[in-house]
Every structure is written in structure tokens, then in C-alpha cells.
């Protein structure tokens, strides 16, 4: 019954990726040079979200293209091992040491659940393969609101502590972290009201019950076109280039260093051999080059900049540190494991 968006967030700093994106075309080359070994038999892509959640949909789309374009000939099965905020899925893959026939979809809860629940970290036990899908976030206010930009929002929030109401998904979700970053950058206190998922939060916003909300561009644009919301900032590093998004100023331009987004990728079980990693590295480089993949990325205002296997470990470690910092500021990070 949980709505789909809540569990699906992941995020990144675009800074690191910007340089890496340029290596996208080159990514296939080292992959092809290294010895590749293709696994035999069907391969499971494990996700921790229910069917229909964003990571699930993205992985099913990727699996479909990989199989149809014969990039990977092994049947790819996306399986939803829900529960424990992705920890059930993660533990399933962690238990499959060296198994060539299973990979884990990486999404934000893989990083955040261990932090908020005080569990051992997961990302550093896995064999990183690639992060290859990125999504940006925008801040929206009510169309009738006097607030036209981030500065005015901060000024409004500074008038009264917890006077500005923000709707978002569960405690510890991307929406919550964005609110936390905004509080820190603007030195304000917001009234963050968690809902049971993105859909319920959006309903609360459209019903006029809250002033502010975080959305993805593909969620926000239809609302803006029908005058139900106004975008005040995009949280990417630099402005997007698409015509629909190019006029949206970044938070950084407006003087607030709030850069946050979502990202998804794949990782193998612990001790996965280099040959299989190279096989995946190559497959993903080919996947993102297909017109079908490019089209679905463009339709949804996502980005597909590949962080190849060689850099994925450092990239994930960096993401982990960023999440840890934000969750600490929100008082949601648990230091020690609890029973």
C-alpha cells in the first residue's frame, strides 16, 4: 500500500558526475579491453521496491532493452524483494557471494536505511558495477503564493519558526533530506509533514494544505502548465538545457548551496569476479547508447550519465558520506546498531 515514490529515491551530487559524463563514450572501450565473461543462465535483477515503483520501472525498462537488443542474451528477470526498506533485497544479494546470476538495483535506501536504522553499511560490501540513471529535483510552491524565488521563501520561513509547511514522503526520504538541506542553507526551520508516499504528499499540496514541496521535473511540469504549482528552483548543479526546464534557476544561482538529486544503478554480490563486472560494464555502456533508452530517459527528464565500475566504488562512498551528513543534521542518523 505504500505509494511508489517514497521508497525510490536516490541521489547524487552532479559535480562528480559532470566530468564522468564526458567519459561516457569512452566507457565501452576499457570494458571491451578487459576480459569479459558472460554468466550462463537467467540473471536476476533484485529490487527492493514493489512492482511499479520508479527503480522497478527503470530496471524493467533496462532489462527489456538489454534483452531485445541482444546486448545481454541471458534472460533478465526483475524480482521485487520488498521489506525492510530495501534491506531484505540487499541481504538477499549479500548472501549470494560470488554469484554471477544476480545483481542488485542500487537506490537511495541502500545508503540511507543502514544509516537511519543503525545497521552495518551495505554499499561497501557489494561489488559496484555502475550508476547510470540520474534524476533532478525541483522545489514548487502554491501558484497563489507570494513567494517567487528561494530568497523570498527563506524570508517567509524566517518570520516564524516552523511557519512554512512542507509536504513530503516518509521520514528520511529524499524530500525530507531536501527540507533539511534547505533549513541548513537558509538557516531556517520548516514544518516538514511526512505523508505515506509521494502521491499522498502531492494530494496534500494540491489541496492547498501545505506551502512547499519537492518534485521531480516530470511530476512538476504538468502541474505548472495547468497553473497548480510554481517552480522556484531546481536543485541541480547547473541549469538543465531542455526548453521546458532551461528557465528554472538553480538553488545555487539564488545563493543557497542546495544540490541534491536521485540516482540509480547496479551492483553485484560480494566477491563478484572481474570478468562478470566487465561484462556488465560493457552492457550498460551499450544500453545507454541505444535510441530506445535515450528516448525513455528524455521523456522522463532523467539523465543517463554512466559512472563505470572503475569509479563506482569511490562514487558510492562519496554519496554515502553526503547522505550521512544530511541525515545527521536531521537527527536521523543512528550511530550504533540497535536491537
Amino acid at each position: 500500500m505504500t505509494a511508489t515514490r517514497a521508497e525510490t529515491y536516490s541521489c547524487l551530487r552532479r559535480t562528480a558526475l559532470f566530468a564522468l559524463g564526458a567519459t561516457l563514450a569512452l566507457a565501452a572501450v576499457p570494458g571491451a579491453l578487459r576480459a569479459q565473461t558472460a554468466p550462463t543462465g537467467p540473471i536476476e535483477i533484485t529490487t527492493g521496491t514493489s512492482p511499479g515503483g520508479t527503480p522497478d520501472v527503470l530496471m524493467r525498462r533496462a532489462a527489456k532493452i538489454l534483452n531485445e537488443q541482444k546486448i545481454i542474451t541471458n534472460p533478465l528477470l526483475v524480482q521485487n524483494r520488498t521489506g525492510g526498506s530495501w534491506m531484505v533485497a540487499a541481504n538477499f544479494v549479500l548472501s549470494k557471494k560470488g554469484d554471477k546470476n544476480v545483481v542488485l538495483c542500487i537506490a537511495q535506501p541502500i545508503l540511507t536505511t543502514p544509516i537511519t536504522q543503525g545497521l552495518p553499511t551495505v554499499y561497501d560490501q557489494l561489488t559496484p558495477i555502475s550508476m547510470f540513471i540520474q534524476g533532478d529535483l525541483v522545489l514548487v510552491v502554491q501558484p497563489s503564493s507570494p513567494v517567487k524565488n528561494l530568497k523570498e521563501l527563506v524570508a517567509l520561513a524566517a518570520q516564524r519558526e516552523r511557519g512554512v509547511k512542507v509536504a513530503g514522503a516518509q521520514s528520511g526520504s529524499t524530500d525530507h533530506m531536501v527540507a533539511g538541506l534547505l533549513e541548513k542553507a537558509g538557516n531556517i526551520k520548516l514544518n516538514y509533514v511526512p505523508f505515506d508516499g509521494g502521491g499522498a504528499a502531492q494530494a496534500a499540496f494540491l489541496g492547498g494544505n501545505v506551502e512547499l514541496m519537492t518534485l521531480t521535473p516530470s511530476e512538476a511540469l504538468p502541474l505548472v502548465e495547468s497553473d497548480k504549482a510554481r517552480i522556484i528552483a531546481i536543485l541541480s548543479d547547473t541549469r538543465r538545457t531542455e526548453p521546458a526546464l532551461k528557465d528554472i534557476p538553480t538553488a545555487r544561482e539564488q545563493g543557497y548551496d542546495v544540490v541534491w538529486g536521485q540516482s540509480w544503478g547496479l551492483a553485484g554480490p560480494p566477491d563478484l569476479d572481474a570478468g562478470t563486472v566487465a561484462f556488465w560494464d560493457d552492457a550498460i555502456a551499450k544500453l545507454v547508447a541505444t535510441p530506445e533508452w535515450q528516448a525513455s530517459i528524455k521523456d522522463n527528464f532523467l539523465r543517463s550519465e554512466v559512472v563505470p565500475a572503475a569509479e563506482a566504488k569511490a562514487h558510492l562512498a562519496k554519496l554515502h558520506q553526503e547522505h550521512l551528513a544530511v541525515l545527521r543534521d536531521l537527527g536521523l542518523a543512528k550511530a550504533t546498531p540497535v536491537q
Binding site: 520501472v57 521485487n80 525492510g84 511526512p194 499522498a200 497548480k228
Partner: protein, 506 residues
């Protein structure tokens, strides 16, 4: 008559041979998926999502939504025949439907469900045609305070559920609330009563509870008789609905359908809450409330009409605003995105062929389901002619695999068994099981919406009476609590007066 012209255009889309075929495929799949325990329509839709990738958007959409409302028809089957809810929204059907089956009236229960679902479905689609923009505004006027009061209304009704003592019914509800407390608290993110178990972090899933408490427990009880249980005898003429049945049920269908549709509109409740609440309301409205829990045909009719109209109602916020009103519409939205269509308030105007094609297809699909279910009801009911001993292994196996399929973990299978044992003990201790299940569904809605309300109002309780809708609901709750108390006081007073009067005459 703008809507009618659009609808005609929609029918042109829906009645092309390809689309007609895919509506048929969709509703048939929905019927099967709904009947399987564990796998509900939303999971079924998502699992079959890849099938739609090569199709035209409208064709894909009519098929997927066919699964959605087909599931509402299909869920009835397993609920009535073997007391295992095929999907979450058929829980209340399992309560009375299976009692009816035991009395040899499975056919009637299935027929009235099919007719109720059909009428409610058609009425809901008609409302969709003419009122979508207005209804979407109404749906948005519901927020945390209204959800809290709605859930409270449902919980206060639990004491009246069940056939025995109200204390026991309330104990069952408390047990349900305790089950719902387990897991990560969504507001503060702290874990409660999880005992360090990862599987419990997201709380206890509703389906293992329902499958265990109703299905497994029922089978355990049936195992007590060492004599081979005679198959339930069903004569063909008892299969059909009688004129009297229809007279008893038509108001139930009307009430259930209307309540279901309104609750379906709200993007925070769903078909399950809809069928629970309409069952509870029907019990209050019924001429024979004592039959509820012992095989009330009108209870089945109300619950089934409600879940189907709620499934359709959930399309209003989805089509008009791009907000999912239920788990199924969330998958439908995901499908739209995958097909390259951006959902949102513009959908109605930008993609009118798609939207009206979808709406028209639902008229067609509901007709197909009626035609499929009505003549087949006796056929399905005759499954019960198979000796029960031979049905037991199949029911147990399919229920447990269904429980596994909800999250692909053996943990949920174990949980289902555990609740099966709990359900068995509850039957033996004469504690009604329905309130427990009702409480599990409503508890989280009640707790989170209470906390959300107070956060929205910055701690002021006045939010529950200032908003017009919440004031109305608050009034309803007060009335539903005060009315029985008032009648008790009045009847006592009358009795005392009678005693006094007789004392004087003595």
C-alpha cells in the same frame, strides 16, 4: 453535451477489434489474478507491465485497467468459495460469503457480487464521464484530518462487528492495532516492536494477516472432524439469485457503490477501506444486522459493489491530477510514464483519445465481466462439490505461494502460518476475526493522519472541526456513538416508567 461527444469518440477507440481484444485479455487476466491469494491486481498489473511495452498506449492502458477492475470481480471467488481473500479488498466478502457457501448459497453470493460489482462499476464510470473535474476538486478537499476521522469512524464500528460480546470484538480490534504498530513509524522514522528484525521494519503486511486469519484458520478448524466432510451440497436451483434476494440487496448495492466511489476518490484510502466501511455501514442500515457475520447476502453485495466502484473512483484523481488514489492506479501511472505519456492535469485535454478510450473501455470491460461471471457463478460454485479433503492441500499450497509472492520472502509465509494459528485460536476462543483485520487496515491511516493533522494545524485540535468536511465527519462520529447510548438510556427510562406505572396500579 460535451462529455457525450467525447464519450462517443472514446467508444470509437475502445471498440476497435484490437482494443476490444485487449480489454477482454485484461479483464480475464484480472479475474484470474484477483482470484489468486496474495497476488492482487496492482502486483499483477506490474508483473504484466513488460507485456504492454510494444503496444499502442491506449491498448496497453485498457488492458492494464482491465486487470485492475477484473481483479475486483475475481477476488470474490476465492473469498466466497474457500474463505481465502483473493485480494485485500475482498476481505469482508470472505466473512459473509463463505458462510453463505457453507449454507449452499455460494452461487447466490457470487451472482450478487457480480451484479453488484457491475452496477456499481457502470455507475462509477458514468460519474467519471460527467463529473471528473468537479470530483477531483472534491477529492483534494480530503486531507489528513478527514482521513483521521474516517478511520476513527471505522474503528468505532468494530465493537458492533462479530456476533458475540462487544468486549471480545474490541479485544480483537486492539490485537489488530497492535499488529499494525509493528514496523518503522512513518512520521519519525523510529522502529517500533521490530525486535531487530529487518523483515519487520516495514511493518506486517496486510495480506499474510488476512490469508492466515481467514483462510488457514478456517482449514485448521475443518480438520477437526475426523469424519470425511461431506461436500457442500448445492442444487442448481439454489445457485441463482431469487427475487427476494434481489429485493434485499438492491439498496445494499446502491449504498455500497456510493460509499465505495466516494472513498475511492480520496487519494489516501482505497478499495480495501471502501469495502470495509460500506460493510460496516450496511450492517447499521440492514433490517437484519444479526445476520452479519453469519452469511448476510446484503453484506456481500455492499462490500463487492464498494470495492469495484472504489477501483473506478480512484481513476478520478489519477486522470484529472496525475495522483494515484490506490496501489493499482500507481502502477497505471507508471505504465503511462513508460509509454511516454506524462500524467498530470493536462491529460484530459492533451490525450483525450486515450482518456476517453479508457473510460469507454471500462463500460465494455464491466459488461464482459458480468457476462463472464453471471453464467459461470454456478460453475465456479460447483468446485465445492469436490470433497473438501481434496481441496485442502491445494488451498493451503496456493495460499502460501501467494503469501510468498507478495514479497518473495519466506518470512511472509511464516507470518501467514503464524496468523493462521492465531486465527484458529481466535475461533476457538470465540473472538471475532473481522475486527482484527479491519483494525490492521485502518490503524496506520488513523495514526499517521492524526499526527499529520496536528502538524498541519501546529498542534491545534480545531483543525478537526474548522474544515467543513471534517466537521461533518466529526458530527457523524458523535452521532454514531451517542445514538446507541441514547437509545439505551431511553429504553431504561421507559422500563422504569413502566415499572413505576405497574407499581402504582398494584
Amino acid at each position: 453535451m460535451d462529455a457525450l461527444a467525447s464519450l462517443a469518440q472514446g467508444f470509437e477507440v475502445a471498440l476497435t477489434p484490437t482494443n476490444l481484444l485487449f480489454v477482454f485479455i485484461g479483464v480475464t487476466l484480472g479475474q484470474i489474478i484477483g482470484a489468486l491469494p496474495g497476488i492482487g491486481p496492482s502486483a499483477g498489473m506490474a508483473l504484466l507491465l513488460p507485456v504492454t511495452f510494444g503496444l499502442e498506449p491506449v491498448t496497453a492502458l485498457v488492458m492494464l485497467s482491465g486487470i485492475m477492475y477484473g481483479g475486483m470481480y475475481g477476488g470474490t471467488l476465492t473469498s466466497v468459495l474457500v474463505n481465502v481473500p483473493g485480494e485485500a479488498a475482498s476481505v469482508m466478502t470472505a466473512v459473509d460469503g463463505h458462510q453463505l457457501a457453507k449454507q449452499g448459497r455460494a452461487g447466490a453470493a457470487l451472482s450478487v457480487s457480480a451484479i453488484g460489482s457491475f452496477l456499481a462499476g457502470i455507475a462509477a464510470v458514468t460519474a467519471l464521464v460527467f463529473l471528473t473535474p468537479a470530483l477531483s476538486a472534491f477529492a483534494l478537499s480530503f486531507s489528513a484530518p478527514e482521513y483521521f476521522l474516517l478511520a476513527l469512524l471505522g474503528i468505532t464500528a468494530t465493537a458492533s462487528l462479530g456476533t458475540g460480546s462487544p468486549v471480545k470484538a474490541m479485544i480483537a480490534a486492539m490485537l489488530g492495532l497492535m499488529v499494525a504498530l509493528v514496523g518503522t513509524d512513518p512520521i519519525q522514522g523510529t522502529s517500533r516492536l521490530t525486535f531487530g528484525s529487518l523483515e519487520l521494519l516495514e511493518g506486517i503486511d496486510f495480506l499474510p494477516v488476512a490469508i492466515g486469519i481467514f483462510g488457514i484458520a478456517e482449514i485448521l478448524v475443518s480438520m477437526e472432524q475426523s469424519q470425511h466432510v461431506e461436500p457442500i451440497r448445492t442444487r442448481l436451483r439454489e445457485m441463482w439469485l431469487t427475487a427476494k434476494d434481489w429485493k434485499d440487496c438492491r439498496m445494499a448495492i446502491l449504498r455500497g457503490g456510493s460509499i465505495g466511489f466516494v472513498i475511492g476518490l480520496m487519494p489516501g484510502a482505497g478499495p480495501t477501506v471502501a469495502s470495509l466501511l460500506s460493510y460496516v455501514v450496511e450492517k447499521k442500515a440492514s433490517k437484519h444486522p444479526e445476520k452479519f457475520g453469519r452469511g448476510a447476502l446484503d453484506g456481500v453485495a455492499a462490500a463487492e459493489a464498494a470495492n469495484n466502484s472504489a477501483a473506478h473512483g480512484a481513476l478520478v484523481p489519477m486522470l484529472a491530477l496525475g495522483i494515484p488514489g490506490s496501489a493499482s492506479t500507481a502502477v497505471l501511472l507508471a505504465a503511462l510514464v513508460l509509454l511516454g505519456i506524462r500524467p498530470g492535469p493536462q491529460l484530459l485535454t492533451d490525450q483525450s483519445d486515450l482518456v476517453w478510450g479508457l473510460i469507454a473501455s471500462m463500460f465494455v470491460g464491466n459488461f464482459m465481466l458480468l457476462i463472464m461471471n453471471l453464467p459461470l457463478a454456478p460453475l465456479f460454485a460447483s468446485i465445492l462439490r469436490i470433497p473438501y479433503d481434496y481441496l485442502v492441500p491445494g488451498i493451503l499450497l496456493i495460499s502460501l505461494v501467494g503469501a510468498y509472492a507478495t514479497s518473495l520472502s519466506m518470512f511472509n509465509v511464516g507470518l501467514t502460518l503464524l496468523f493462521g494459528m492465531v486465527g484458529y485460536l481466535m475461533i476457538r476462543a470465540d473472538i471475532p476475526r473481522a475486527p482484527l483485520v479491519l483494525a490492521v487496515v485502518l490503524a496506520q491511516l488513523m495514526e499517521t493522519s492524526l499526527r499529520q493533522s496536528l502538524m498541519l494545524s501546529e498542534g491545534s485540535l480545531s483543525i478537526f472541526v474548522q474544515r467543513p468536511l471534517s466537521a461533518l465527519l466529526a458530527l457523524l462520529i458523535v452521532a454514531s456513538l451517542a445514538l446507541p447510548a441514547f437509545t439505551v438510556v431511553m429504553s431504561r427510562r421507559a422500563a422504569r416508567r413502566a415499572r413505576l406505572a405497574s407499581g402504582i396500579t398494584d
